[in-house]
Amino acid sequence: MAANLASNLDQASVRTHVVAADWQAAITLAGDALVAGGVTTDEYTAEMIAAVDKLGPYIVIAPGLAIAHSRPSPSVLRAGLSWVTLKEPVSFGHKKNDPVSLVIGLAAPDHEGHLEMMQALAGVLMNSDLLVALKAAGSPAEVLALLSNPELLTEKAQS
């Protein structure tokens, strides 16, 4: 894999197997993780929840996966991501892709500057073996290790 998602993801922005009661709580976790990594302010978390209130659960773009995000605004400090896996999947009200066990928070200060990050993200999300391992990962360090070095996966499979 050419692009490396780990370089866009601060360890403070990764949470593994945390508990969320509902989709609002799940987005709040992803928002808090963005704030912890210095990507956004708390305002952005409220904007992400408002986006789903207004437009529906369209952010659940694949089975079990929600990309929580809002639009570029002053609450975005830089382009970045957060990564939250849930202990128990929660429903977002999506007809086909519920329940959600991975919430990725995404923020960008404009429409263009984050395209490399999106390429890297797409690369990870298209890799179903890697995704299974990432969802199983029990610590932020393990998530980042897998992201920065996907070869670990093959070594694991062979051992």
């Binding site: 990309i67 995000h69 639009r71 086909k96 999106m118 999300l125 298209m126």
Partner: protein, 90 residues
Amino acid sequence: MKIIAVCGMGIGTSVLLKMNTEKVLRTLGIDADVEAADIGVARGMARDAEIVLTSEELAEEIGDVEAQVIVIDNFFDLDEITEKLTSALE
């Protein structure tokens, strides 16, 4: 040919959908211009596009446009995108 990938905000899911649509078009050997757009500008942009790709929730928001609106359930399922694009282009 112009194709628009639509999401609510224009920075996240539409960008992912655009990337995967371009991948599918390359495999199919179809020459098309794919643009990502947010729901606010999508209706205007749809005027000179042939196809609009989006999720089910947003397809309802887009409403009546001349372009064919295709609903994609799984943005990472290249087979689904391939199948729906192919049948739309027939």
